[in-house]
C-alpha cells in the first residue's frame, strides 16, 4: 500500500524474531553460526520439496482445478514432513558436532548445551521460513495499491504478517520440544510436533477466511509456547518468583558451590 504499511507489516512479522536475535544470539558467535546453519537446513528441505512439487505439477493435468488443489495439499504435507526430517537430521549433526567440539576444545564442559542448540536451530528455521513466507508480499506492499480489486479481502497484508510472526515463534518452540524429545527418546512428543506443524500448515487452506486460520494458529502457538517453556526448564513457581520480584532471595538461597 505504501511505505507505512511496508514497515508496519515488516515489524509485525519480524519484530519478535529480531528482538530475540538481538538480545540472545547476536553476542555469541557460536550461536550465530548454528542459527545460520539451521536456516540453511530449512532452505535445503524447501528446495527438495519444491523440486518434487514442480515435477509433479509439470506431469499433471494443468487444466483440472481439482487435481491442482490436490497437488497443493500433497505439496504442503510433503514440505512439512521434509522440514521435520531435516530438523531431525540437524539434530543428529549437532550431536556429532558437539562430541567433536568437546574433543577439540581444552575445556571440560561443552561450549554450548543441546538445549541452547535446540532454541537456536528452531529460531534459524523460523527466520528462513518467515522470510520465504512474507518477503514477496512485503515487496508488493510498497506500491500504492492494496489487495481487493478482484474481490479479495483487504486484510491480506496484515494477516500475512501476523501469520508469519506466529510461524517464526512456532518453529522456535517446535525446535525446543523436538530436540528435547529426541534426547529423551520420547517419540510421542516428536509425533505431536509433526502433527501440530501439519495442522498449522493446513489451517492456511482456510484463507481468505483469515479469522478461522489465524485464531487456531495463535491458540496452538500459545499451547506450544507453554510446552516449550516447561521443556526448557521453566516452571510455574519460577514464573511467579520472577513476576513478584522475589528472585534475588531465590538466587542467594539456591546458591551452591560447583
Amino acid at each position: 500500500m505504501t511505505a507505512s504499511v511496508f514497515f508496519g507489516c515488516t515489524f509485525i512479522a519480524f519484530g519478535p524474531a529480531i528482538a530475540l536475535f538481538l538480545f540472545t544470539i547476536a553476542r555469541e558467535p557460536l550461536r550465530v553460526i548454528f542459527l545460520i546453519a539451521g536456516a540453511f537446513f530449512w532452505l535445503v528441505s524447501l528446495l527438495l520439496s519444491s523440486l518434487v512439487w514442480f515435477i509433479s505439477v509439470q506431469i499433471s493435468n494443468k487444466e483440472s482445478a481439482v487435481q491442482q488443489k490436490g497437488l497443493l495439499i500433497f505439496g504442503v504435507v510433503l514440505s512439512v514432513l521434509l522440514q521435520e526430517t531435516f530438523r531431525f537430521a540437524y539434530y543428529k549433526l549437532l550431536k556429532k558436532a558437539n562430541e567433536g567440539l568437546l574433543a577439540l576444545s581444552q575445556e571440560e564442559t561443552m561450549p554450548i548445551s543441546i538445549r541452547q542448540l535446540a532454541y537456536v536451530s528452531g529460531l534459524g528455521f523460523g527466520f528462513m521460513s518467515g522470510a520465504f513466507s512474507v518477503v514477496n508480499i512485503l515487496a508488493d506492499s510498497v506500491g500504492p495499491g492494496t489487495v481487493g480489486i478482484h474481490g479479495d479481502s483487504q486484510h491480506y497484508f496484515l494477516s500475512s504478517a501476523f501469520m508469519t510472526m506466529a510461524i517464526i515463534l512456532l518453529h522456535m518452540f517446535w525446535g525446543v520440544v523436538f530436540f528435547d524429545a529426541c534426547e529423551k527418546q520420547r517419540w510421542w512428543a516428536v509425533a505431536a510436533v509433526i502433527i501440530s506443524h501439519l495442522v498449522v500448515s493446513c489451517l492456511t487452506f482456510q484463507n481468505p477466511e483469515y479469522v478461522t486460520s489465524l485464531v487456531p494458529t495463535y491458540v496452538i502457538l500459545f499451547l506450544m509456547g507453554i510446552w516449550a517453556f516447561y521443556t526448557a526448564g521453566g516452571s510455574f513457581r519460577n514464573l511467579k518468583l520472577c513476576l513478584t520480584c522475589k528472585d534475588k532471595d531465590f538466587l542467594l538461597a539456591n546458591h551452591r558451590p560447583r
Partner: protein, 685 residues
C-alpha cells in the same frame, strides 16, 4: 525517444481464483501478489511533451507516476466535486469525449493539485459537431506573412483558417492525459468506479476506493535550447539524452532524371514543383490518421504522377516536373523550410533559380458542391500563368498555411495552392484523432473481405480521381506540354481507391505487399499514423510513399537481384534509384517473384535548419523537439484509507517495541526462569 516495451502487459480481466497457501511453500501456480492488486492498462496512449524555441507544450507526470482516485465526470457542473467538494483528492478524472472541451480542460488545468490526471475515452464514431485541438491559425509565425511582408494578412487578421480550433494541443498540462478506447477494458474501469467510488445519496464514499496510476514522465523541460544544452552534457560513459528534434525525410521524384551528385544550379533546367504534405498530428502521441489534412493531398499527387507517367515518357514537356512530398509541415514547415534552405545553399539537385512555378495540393478530400479553389498570394501575384478550370476566391485573401509559403519567403515565385475550401477550412477535425476514413466518407458496403474492400471504388475515390486528373493536366500544360496530349492524361480510379484503402484503413494488403522490399513487410499492418516523429526514426508512411512513387513513376528493369543492388554503386546511381521489391506470387506457387524498379524517387533529409545551424531560439525555422521518456503505462487498483495505513504502522511499531521489552526482561531473568530440571554435570547457561 527511448521507450522500453511496456512491462506487465497482463490481461486485465478474469484471472483464475488462486489458492494462496502462502507459508512453508514456494512456487504457487498463481505466482504473483501483484496480480491481486493491480490491473494493468493494455492500451496506453498519452500526450507527450514537445518543446520549441519559447515554450513547452503537452503533459507531464511525476517521476513515480501520478496516483488519483477515479472519478467519472458526468457533466461540467460535476467538476465542482473534483475541484472543490470531493473529500479524497487528488482525483483522476475520466472524461467521455463530449466533455473533452477547452473549458473543462482549462478548469482542470487550474485545479491546483486536486487533479492527478485525465483519461479521455475516445468514441468509436466521430462527434457530430467537430473538434480540432490545433490552433485557429496554424503555423502563423513561420509562414510568409509577417511584420515585413503584408502585416495586415499576418496572424490570420483577414481569414481565420481553423475556426473550430481550441488550441488544446498547444497548452501545457502538469498532469498526464491518456486516451482510452471504448472497449471492455474501459468498462472494467467504469465498473470499478461504480462499485467503490460512487457516493450514494449525498454520503461520502467509503474506503477502499478505486484509483488509477499513470506514468508518463518526460525528461525535457522549458524549451529546445535548454534540452539541447542538456543533451550535450558529457558526464558519464552513457550520456542521457533528454530530447530529440522532430524530423524525417522528404520524398521527391522528377519526370526527367536529374544528376543527383551535382548539386546546386543546373543550367537550362526549369522545374515545376508539384508539392503535397505527408504528415499530421493529434493531441495524443503517435495518433495521426490525417485523412483530410494529409492523405487526400498526397494521394492526389501520387495519382497525378501516375497519370503523367506515359505522357512524360513519350512526349517530354519542356520543363521538368518535380514531385515533392514534404514531411513535418505541421510543425512549422520542417520539410519545406529544409528544402528551400538546401536549395539556397546549393545542397539540392536544383536551386531556386531553376524553379519556374509551384502547384501545391492542400486538403482536397471533402468537396462541398464539388468545388475546388485555387488560392494565390495577392502580394506576389502578377500574371496568372496557370490556366485551369477552377474557382478563385473572389476577394483578396492570403494564402492558407501551405509549404508554398516557405518558397515565397525566399523568392517571389508564382504558384497556387489547391484546396477544397474557399476561406475557412471545411475540415471539422483538423489535426485531431477524428480525421480518419469516416471524415472523408470512405465507407465500404458490409460483408466485403479485406481484399474486396481494397478493390472497391468508393465515391471519395472517384472524386479524388477527378482532382488528380485535373492536377495532372494542369501540370502537363504548365510544364509546356502539347495540348493534344491532354485528353489522354487520366488518373486511374483503381489506383486511387487502393491507395486510399491502404493509407486510411489497412496497409497490410496484397497490393502493398507487392510493392515493398522484403525487409519492410514487418512494418505493414500498423494502424495508419502520419505523425512525423523524431529524426532518428524514419516513419513508415515516408518509405511507403517512396516505394509507391517509384512504382507509379518508374519502370521495371529485367535484371537479377544482385545486379539491381549493384546498380546503386554504378555511375547510374547519379540519375536513377534502383530498388528490389517483393512482387507477387504466381498462382500456383508460394514464392514471390521480385523485380527491380528503376525510378527517380529519392529521399532528402527533412530536419529543420535550426538544428544544423544550432540556432535553437530561431524565429525563422522550426525548432520543435520531442522529449524522451522511459515508459508510458497505467494501472488501476484499490487504495486504503490513510488511517488504516497509519494503524498498521502503529501496530507494527508496538509489536516491535513490546517484543524488545519482553525479550530483554526474559533474557535478563533467564537464569531463574529456566532453572528447574538443570542437569548439574554437563550443562552451561
Amino acid at each position: 525517444q527511448t521507450h522500453i516495451a511496456d512491462e506487465g502487459k497482463v490481461k486485465p480481466l478474469s484471472h483464475p481464483r488462486c489458492y494462496s497457501a502462502f507459508l512453508s511453500f514456494a512456487g504457487v501456480s498463481c505466482n504473483s501478489v501483484e496480480k491481486k492488486i493491480y490491473v494493468h492498462l493494455n492500451y496506453t496512449v498519452s500526450c507527450v511533451r514537445l518543446l520549441n524555441a519559447t515554450h513547452q507544450i503537452g503533459c507531464q507526470s511525476s517521476l513515480s507516476g501520478n496516483v488519483g482516485v477515479l472519478h467519472v465526470l458526468e457533466s461540467e457542473e460535476n467538476l465542482d466535486w473534483v475541484l472543490h467538494s470531493g473529500p479524497n483528492p487528488p482525483y483522476m478524472v475520466i472524461l467521455e469525449s463530449p466533455l473533452f472541451t477547452r473549458s473543462v480542460m482549462m478548469k482542470l488545468k487550474n485545479g491546483s493539485g486536486r487533479v492527478a490526471g485525465v483519461a479521455v475515452v475516445a468514441p468509436n464514431t466521430n462527434p457530430a459537431e467537430g473538434f480540432s485541438p490545433h490552433t485557429t491559425c496554424p503555423n502563423e509565425n513561420t509562414g510568409v506573412y509577417s511584420e515585413t511582408y503584408e502585416p495586415t494578412m499576418a496572424n490570420c487578421n483577414m481569414t481565420v483558417w481553423n475556426p473550430l480550433g481550441n488550441g488544446l494541443s498547444y497548452e501545457e498540462f502538469d498532469f498526464p492525459i491518456f486516451s482510452l478506447k471504448d472497449d471492455n477494458d474501459t468498462q472494467v474501469i467504469r465498473q470499478c468506479y461504480l462499485d467503490h467510488n460512487r457516493a450514494g445519496n449525498g454520503s461520502t464514499p467509503q474506503y477502499p476506493l478505486c484509483a488509477m496510476q499513470l506514468y508518463s514522465h518526460m525528461s525535457a523541460v522549458t524549451d529546445t535550447a535548454t534540452c539541447m544544452r542538456r543533451n550535450a552534457i558529457n558526464f558519464s560513459l552513457n550520456p542521457e539524452m533528454v530530447c530529440d528534434p522532430l524530423g524525417d525525410q522528404n520524398v521527391w521524384a522528377s519526370t526527367r532524371p536529374l544528376n543527383n551528385t551535382a548539386k546546386g544550379h543546373k543550367m537550362w533546367e526549369s522545374v515545376v514543383i508539384a508539392a503535397a504534405r505527408l504528415d499530421s498530428r493529434s493531441f495524443f502521441f503517435d495518433i495521426a490518421p490525417g485523412a483530410q489534412s494529409g492523405v487526400s493531398g498526397f494521394v492526389t499527387l501520387l495519382a497525378a504522377a501516375h497519370a503523367l507517367r506515359n505522357a512524360t515518357q513519350e512526349a517530354q514537356p519542356n520543363r521538368t516536373i518535380l514531385y515533392t512530398f514534404f514531411q513535418g509541415e505541421t510543425f512549422d514547415y520542417i520539410g519545406s523550410s529544409r528544402m528551400v534552405y538546401d536549395m539556397e545553399n546549393k545542397q539540392f539537385v536544383v536551386d531556386l533559380d531553376n524553379v519556374h512555378s509551384v502547384l501545391e495540393i492542400g486538403q482536397v478530400g471533402l468537396r462541398a458542391d464539388s468545388k475546388l479553389w485555387l488560392h494565390t498570394d495577392p502580394v506576389s501575384r502578377r500574371n496568372e500563368s496557370l490556366n485551369v478550370t477552377v474557382d478563385v476566391p473572389g476577394f483578396s485573401q492570403p494564402l492558407p498555411p501551405s509549404s508554398f509559403q516557405r518558397f515565397l519567403r525566399a523568392r517571389p515565385i508564382p504558384g497556387v495552392v489547391l484546396e477544397d475550401h474557399q476561406s475557412a477550412y471545411t475540415n471539422k477535425f483538423y489535426e485531431s484523432m477524428y480525421d480518419n476514413a469516416e471524415n472523408l466518407n470512405v465507407s465500404y458496403p458490409p460483408n466485403l473481405t479485406p481484399e474486396e474492400q481494397l478493390e472497391y471504388i468508393t465515391d471519395t475515390a472517384r472524386a479524388v480521381t477527378e482532382v488528380a486528373t485535373m492536377v495532372a493536366r494542369a501540370l502537363y500544360r504548365q510544364a509546356g506540354g502539347e495540348e493534344s496530349q491532354l485528353s489522354s492524361i487520366k488518373a486511374d480510379p483503381q489506383i486511387v481507391t487502393k491507395m486510399l484503402y491502404s493509407f486510411l484503413v489497412r496497409s497490410n494488403n496484397s497490393w502493398f505487399q507487392q510493392l515493398v522490399p522484403s525487409d519492410f513487410t514487418s512494418y505493414l499492418g500498423k494502424p495508419p499514423n502520419f505523425y512525423v516523429g523524431v529524426v532518428q526514426q524514419s516513419s513508415e508512411p515516408t518509405l511507403l510513399v517512396q516505394y509507391l512513387l517509384a512504382n507509379l513513376t518508374g519502370s521495371t528493369i529485367n535484371i537479377t537481384q544482385d545486379n539491381c543492388k549493384n546498380q546503386r554503386e554504378d555511375e547510374s546511381d547519379k540519375m536513377y534509384n534502383y530498388m528490389w521489391v517483393q512482387g507477387a506470387a504466381p498462382p500456383n506457387s508460394t514464392e514471390r517473384e521480385g523485380y527491380c524498379v528503376r525510378s527517380t524517387a529519392r529521399l532528402s533529409k527533412a530536419l529543420s535548419p535550426a538544428f544544423d545551424l544550432e540556432q535553437y531560439t530561431s524565429k525563422n525555422f522550426s525548432t520543435w523537439t520531442e522529449s524522451r521518456w522511459k515508459f508510458i503505462k497505467g494501472r488501476i487498483f484499490l487504495v486504503a484509507s490513510h488511517e488504516l495505513e497509519m494503524l498498521t504502522l502503529g501496530v507494527g511499531v508496538g509489536v516491535l517495541l513490546s517484543s524488545l521489552l519482553v525479550t530483554y526482561i526474559i533474557s535478563s531473568k533467564a537464569d531463574i526462569l529456566f532453572s528447574s530440571g538443570r542437569e548439574p554435570t554437563n550443562a552451561t547457561y
